[in-house]
């Protein structure tokens, strides 16, 4: 279960974070929202796709970890198998909440398995934030800004009618085929047809580069299939 509360230097003075357990929080996630600022780092390993937020129907960029619900093919045994951990995983157990006035607030999930008796301190004896906490606050600030940038990126894509459903049919080594629904990408034909003012704006805002990074990252779907095949083979053995 989760227990989300605002971080308080009095109340949480002696809290410690077991950083070795952070990535484990994402072990059962099939995907996680990502921000345009991370695209280049994500492109090393992850397919970057678009999907709809279940509550609002709005598009959001995500890194894909698996094919089935709850399947994370990057979590093997007890470690995260990638050079880069997406920020929405790395920020655990912290997240950004809001106070009564709508101002962003650093919050923590008190029930997270990361919250232990040993590990990184959040506050020193005097109640000041430790370098570790400052680092995490920095990540949260990045994410807050990144969420805004992500929304702007999606808005640009929609304005130019560039979002298209991904028609994805994957066949695994055991010959089982699965049609993957609910994922979207950038329509390359429509992208190619852009010129003049809209193309210039896309380039000037940095979004054109991000689009290309996203499109390049789609090749990782094949690596994902390989991971799944290896996992299936190991399970069968």
């Amino acid at each position: 279960m989760t227990r989300l509360v605002a971080l308080n230097s009095e109340h949480h003075r002696n809290l410690r974070i077991d950083t070795s357990k952070i990535e484990q929080q994402g072990a059962a996630l099939r995907m996680v929202p990502v921000m345009p600022g991370e695209f280049l780092k994500l492109a090393i390993d992850y397919p970057i796709v678009l999907t709809k937020n279940a509550e609002t129907g709005q598009f959001v960029c995500v890194a894909l970890f698996g094919f089935a619900e709850g399947e994370n093919l990057f979590w093997q045994g007890d470690s995260w198998e990638s050079l880069y951990t997406p920020l929405n995983i790395a920020r655990q157990p912290f997240f950004v909440g809001a106070d009564d006035g709508g101002q962003p607030l650093v919050c923590i999930d008190e029930d997270s398995p990361c919250v232990r008796n040993e590990g990184e301190r959040l506050f020193d004896e005097g109640g000041a934030a430790t370098p570790y906490l400052q680092k995490m606050q920095g990540i949260l600030a990045q994410l807050l800004d990144g969420e805004r940038q992500g929304a702007e990126f999606v808005r640009q894509l929609q304005q130019l009618d560039l979002i298209a459903p991904m028609r994805l049919e994957v066949t695994f080594a055991d010959r089982r085929a699965q049609r993957i629904e609910g994922l979207y990408t950038v329509d390359e034909e429509k992208l190619q047809a852009l010129n003049g003012e809209p193309l210039q704006q896309l380039h000037a805002s940095g979004s054109l580069a991000r689009i290309h990074t996203l499109l390049t990252s789609l090749g990782h779907i094949y690596s994902l299939i390989e991971r799944r095949n290896r996992r299936d083979a190991a399970a069968a053995a």
Binding site: K52, N53, A54, E55, T56, G57, Q58, F59, I163, A164, P165, G182, Y184
Partner: protein, 517 residues
């Protein structure tokens, strides 16, 4: 006598606004947008009120909106619109408190592969399971107030087949704005005073109060009950169907929700009364409720009492409109260069929300089959008349079916079962259905309005029995039937788990909109 000329048909004049006028103008303008010579003008008098009670639609409206280029999110936001998944008919059979059945919009499970009706009747009905629940999951969605789609479902796409309930006045406003701003329809706010005719009887132009003579090649009569061109000018006879469907009055009222978060019904509720029935349609901002009744079977005072009983004491603060209903249609709909769409063509009680779908079908046929030249218009006109006469007849039959299968004892209901009031076409089909279920082979015209499935839902919902005895040699697919019934149970469980509450979904759509893809 003049021969019809090869004059191209380019100048379309729609007379009358409202949903009929704007859907007609919009469909024609949208379909012929590529033709630079085509000109669509809609003229409406500024002070004639529209009827504003046509509030239920069919799934065809999704397609109509798409063809017009209107987004579903915009439509839902601006017209107080909600989703409709079918109709609940309460108290139509015995009149008792728990007497109801559903006519849902989703087809029965496996309908293209086999008919489950005889298997249901033989195996499941004796144990109390209704036909609708046995073969379809939609009744359960309606009973629990669940919507037919999710926030992640694209515009116009469905999880469960659906139509809309809408505020007709707001819909007309949205259509007007869209047609004039996006589809190039010219809007004249002016009165038509008289008609100028050509020697062959065609309308040459309309004399207007402030805009001179308005010429046209084709005139679309959307003037409502007054039918000024088709009925008034051309004197086309009105075919009274009151001998079959007795209802001739409506009392309509707009009922506010008691609390802001009261659930919104996801289906039309039709509750039978002693001399007619009460409709209850849920929009986002209010409910539309009305009692349609036969003045020959009850008094106005009694009718008002019935409506008050249904709505409750809140009705004291509400204004109730009385609307006379002439149940029937014109003998022809297209004469010379004038075609009627909407109330000007006819009207029947709104038991199956047929008014707007007839508008859509008429507008579609005019747009798609618009005669290129005057000398082929006679052919199109004849085909239009045959097509829509067939459709009006089928709707009359289907509505009558609801009355024929009732067992209520009041005079209105007994009189409705009098064989003299039953069209032969309906009587014959019912005779056949005594021995086998309604099937596609009973509905072979391209112009059918209701599919065989709809007849099954009403027939078996109202307790009609098909004698399985004459069929039993053909019931060899018991295993397949059982699989289909099980599949429906599974579909029901799944639908109940994934679909959101109706009001909640509408609120989110108002806030975020639906995605186009």
């Amino acid at each position: 006598m003049n021969e019809p000329t090869g004059k191209p048909i380019k100048n379309i004049v729609v007379v009358g606004g409202g949903t009929a006028g704007w859907i007609a103008a919009g469909r024609i303008a949208a379909m012929h947008a590529g033709d630079g010579g085509m000109r669509v003008t809609l003229i409406e008098a500024p002070n004639i009120p529209t009827v504003g009670v046509g509030e239920g639609t069919w799934p065809t409206m999704r397609n109509t909106l798409r063809k017009l280029g209107i987004s579903e999110s915009e439509f839902l936001r601006e017209c107080c619109a909600t989703f409709k998944q079918g109709a609940k008919f309460a108290r139509w059979v015995s009149g008792g408190e728990d007497d109801f059945y559903y006519h849902p919009l989703v087809l029965p499970q496996g309908f293209t592969k086999m008919h489950l009706a005889p298997y249901w009747q033989r195996d499941l009905k004796p144990y109390g399971q209704s036909f609708s629940n046995a073969v379809c999951y939609q009744e359960q969605l309606c009973e629990r107030g669940l919507a037919p789609k999710q926030m992640t479902t694209p515009e116009f796409a469905s999880v469960a087949n659906y139509a809309y309930h809408l505020d007709a006045g707001k819909f007309a406003q949205l259509l007007e704005r869209h047609c004039t701003q996006k589809l190039g329809v010219r809007h004249l706010r002016d009165e038509v005073l008289s008609v100028n005719t050509e020697s062959n009887g065609d309308i040459e132009s309309l004399n207007t109060r402030n805009s001179g003579a308005l010429a046209g090649d084709l005139f679309v009569d959307c003037t409502g009950f007054s039918s000024r061109l088709l009925g008034g000018h051309y004197q086309v006879a009105f075919v009274d169907r009151g001998d079959v469907l007795f209802i001739d009055r409506a009392l309509a009222v707009q009922v506010p929700y008691e609390k802001e978060d009261d659930p919104i019904a996801c289906h039309t509720i039709s509750t039978a009364q002693d001399a007619g029935w009460i409709w209850d349609i849920g929009l986002t901002c209010r409910r539309g409720v009305g009692y349609v009744y036969s003045s020959g079977h009850t008094s106005a005072a009694q009718a008002e009492r019935r409506l008050r009983d249904y709505v409750g004491p809140a009705i004291e603060k509400l204004s109730v409109r009385e609307i006379p209903i002439h149940c029937g249609h014109r003998e022809k709909f297209w004469v010379n260069n004038c075609v009627a769409v909407g109330l000007s063509a006819g009207f029947l009680e709104p038991l199956e929300a047929s008014a707007l779908v007839l508008v859509e079908l008429s507008a579609e046929m005019i747009a798609e089959q618009l005669p290129a030249r005057r000398d082929v218009m006679e052919i199109t006109a004849r085909r239009f008349n045959d097509t829509f006469r067939y459709r009006w007849d089928r709707i009359v039959d289907f509505l009558k079916l609801h009355y024929l299968l009732s067992r209520r004892g009041e005079n209105f209901w007994r009189d409705n079962r009098d064989p003299a009031s039953v069209p032969d076409s309906l009587r014959e089909l019912l005779a056949l259905w005594r021995h086998r279920p309604p099937a596609d082979c009973d509905f072979t015209s391209n112009n059918e309005v209701f599919p065989a499935a709809s007849y099954q839902y009403v027939l078996y919902g109202m307790g009609f029995e098909t004698e399985v005895g004459s069929l039993v040699h053909r019931l060899r697919d018991g295993k397949a039937a059982a699989e289909h019934f099980a599949a429906n149970q599974k579909a029901t469980t799944r639908a109940l788990a994934v679909l959101p509450k109706h009001r909640e979904l509408l609120e989110k759509i108002h806030e975020y909109g639906l995605q186009a893809i």
